[in-house]
């Protein structure tokens, strides 16, 4: 097997901003003293006049972004997911969500794959929080190709968007000439008839791997990548659930309110189906290398396989 290319989606984010800067002259990028880590530093280097460092004041940054958007700019406001969705929740809700302003939030360093920094910085609640804001589009791309496509789609869309990017390098699984990205549309990565696995972010690649292991055991799993948690591709979720009769969600997020929550809401109302939500089970993360933590929390291919096997 040839070496799979790996890249962190935060890196994809920084690169996409640079690639799209000329096409979208209204694009400006805000950061809160984390440009090196969020990778907007790549944009800062290429377009210093369009990069504004707000310093360590995330609430202010979100409201500044609102003011920029209210006067015709398209700001990407960047910081760690913990501070974007957590600390600045009320600014995002009232300064951006309520007036439905054209602000894009690029939140990096989400989930336990933040690694050694530990629980204070490992946001496991951001997707749940952002999903509650009316009119907010919430995305969690799986790889370099999808992350870049999501940034473009966000720029082309008029309204508030939250995109979650990761710190750890992840394999590139999307691509090809026929690759298409659309906000609100999921993609079937593997067709199957026995069970549906719905994943997002860095859990997509190991979910595909887990499906291959299940195939060896005689379980034919369908794997769906849901980048847009809101609006959820209900049509795709429901069609697959009806086909397989059993659904598993996999995410590097609390099992409360994120992808698992969104799918549970959809299924229980429209097509009650046996469901297992794989994720972080109502607890905080901890320090350690990302790969070790993903293994410990059973979010690597082996852990996902084990959890699905116990359910299926």
């Amino acid at each position: 097997m040839s070496e799979v290319k790996k890249i962190a989606t935060r890196e994809s984010y920084g690169n996409a901003l640079v690639e799209l800067a000329d096409e979208f002259p209204q694009l400006v990028v805000l950061d809160a003293d984390l440009a090196g880590a969020t990778k907007t530093g790549i944009f800062k280097k290429a377009y210093p006049d369009r990069h504004i460092d707000c310093g360590i004041a995330e609430g202010n940054m979100m409201s500044i972004a609102a003011g920029l958007a209210a006067t015709g700019k398209i700001p990407f406001a960047s910081t760690f997911a913990m501070f974007a969705a957590g600390r600045a929740f009320e600014q995002v809700r009232n300064s951006i969500g309520y007036p439905h302003l054209n602000v894009k939030i690029g939140a990096t360093h989400a989930g336990i794959s933040v690694g050694e920094d530990g629980a204070s910085h490992q946001c496991l609640e951001d997707l749940a929080l952002m999903r509650t804001i009316p009119g907010m589009v919430v995305m969690c791309p799986a790889d370099d190709v999808e992350a870049k496509a999501a940034v473009r789609a966000a720029l082309e869309y008029d309204g508030p968007v939250y995109i979650r990017f990761g710190r750890a390098a992840v394999p590139v699984i999307n691509g090809g000439d026929d690759y298409k990205f659309e906000i609100g549309k999921g993609t079937v990565l593997r067709e199957g008839k026995d069970i549906t696995i719905i994943a997002n972010g860095l859990c997509v690649a190991p979910a595909v791997e887990a499906a291959e292991k299940l195939a060896a055991d005689g379980v034919d799993a369908e794997v769906i990548n849901i980048c847009t948690i809101k609006p959820l591709d209900e049509e795709l979720v429901l069609a697959s659930a009806k086909k397989t009769g059993k659904v598993v969600t996999v995410e590097e997020h609390s099992v409360i309110g994120g992808l698992g929550g969104a799918v549970a809401e959809c299924l229980s109302e429209k097509c009650p189906t046996l469901l297992k939500r794989i994720g972080v089970y109502d607890k905080f993360g901890e320090s350690g290398p990302a790969a070790e933590l993903l293994h410990k929390y059973e979010l690597d291919a082996e852990g996902i396989y084990k959890q699905i096997k116990a359910f299926a």
Partner: protein
């Protein structure tokens, strides 16, 4: 516009405020009345706005950071001709454009939705930055309460505005000295307000917020000030213009009953006739 004319407009704005809050049976008359002269000057003289074209690109922007005092904003907008004064009676009613706190989507001419204290000044700062980035010459005004200065975000925004040299930003503090739980000193003193803004890098002007000559001079001085934002600290009286509301903390967020409304309107009518 001469002082007498401005005072007449301000008197009309005050009547509008009292009418709104009475018709809503709720709302915040005290801090709207204290800022009535400021609202009047901003909408009748200072700001480049056009009621016939509320979204014109080069207009000056106004963000009401102390959003709960929007009865004053709405009354001043009606005075300027953005909508009929009759609509003031729909304030806070279901389906009304005059929401309990300003919403830019309900009412054309409102440049930003606000209400959560501390955020408006940041949004105004973002707008001022936006004008600078595009090389545009319109200005941004934002009105804050003195109690609002207790919000940390006010100082995050102030540090940023001064650091970025946003001289197109004018922050106005309605210093009526009262907030819901008492005087601002009793609750959590923001004083000295002038020294704080100076330390953050603002050009600071202190005025009597009910004196139109001082108001006019302050706004002119703000426009002349280059390289730094301006903070106008306007000393005012909460509830100004209605005898029983003046300097009474209890009138922060309470509507007058029918009898109190009649008395307030009678006082304001007499004051208007005396001008």
């Amino acid at each position: 516009m001469d002082t007498k004319e401005l005072q007449k407009h301000a008197n009309s704005v005050r009547k509008g405020i009292v009418t709104e809050v009475h018709s809503a049976k709720s709302g915040h008359p005290g801090g709207a009345l204290s800022a009535a002269d400021l609202y009047t000057y901003l909408y009748m003289v200072e700001m480049n706005v056009d009621p016939a074209d509320p979204k014109k690109a080069d207009r000056d922007r106004f963000v009401l950071s102390k959003g709960h005092t929007c009865p004053g904003l709405y009354a001043a907008m009606a005075e300027r001709g953005f909508f009929e004064k009759k609509e003031l009676e729909t304030f806070r009613h279901t389906g009304a454009r005059l929401q309990g706190h300003p919403s830019m989507h309900y009412l054309p001419g409102v440049d930003m939705s606000s209400g959560s204290l501390g955020q408006g000044v940041s949004v105004a700062t973002g707008m001022a930055l936006s004008a600078k980035l595009s090389g545009e010459s319109w200005r941004v005004y934002t009105l804050l309460g003195d109690g609002e200065l207790q919000e940390g975000q006010v100082w995050e925004a102030s540090m940023f505005a001064a650091a970025k040299k946003l001289d197109n930003l004018c922050v106005i503090v309605d210093n009526n000295n009262l907030q819901i739980d008492g005087t601002v000193e009793e609750v959590n003193s923001p004083y000295p307000i002038d020294e704080k803004f100076k330390a953050f890098g603002f050009h600071v002007i202190q005025i009597d917020g009910h004196d139109f000559d001082q108001i006019a001079k302050a706004f002119d001085e703000a426009k002349q000030t280059k390289g730094q934002p301006t903070a106008i600290i306007a000393k005012t009286t909460k509830g100004k213009g209605v005898s029983f509301m003046e300097n009474q903390v209890g009138w922060h967020g309470v509507a007058p009953n029918d009898q109190q409304y009649a008395q307030a309107m009678d006082e304001l009518t007499k004051a208007g006739e005396a001008l």
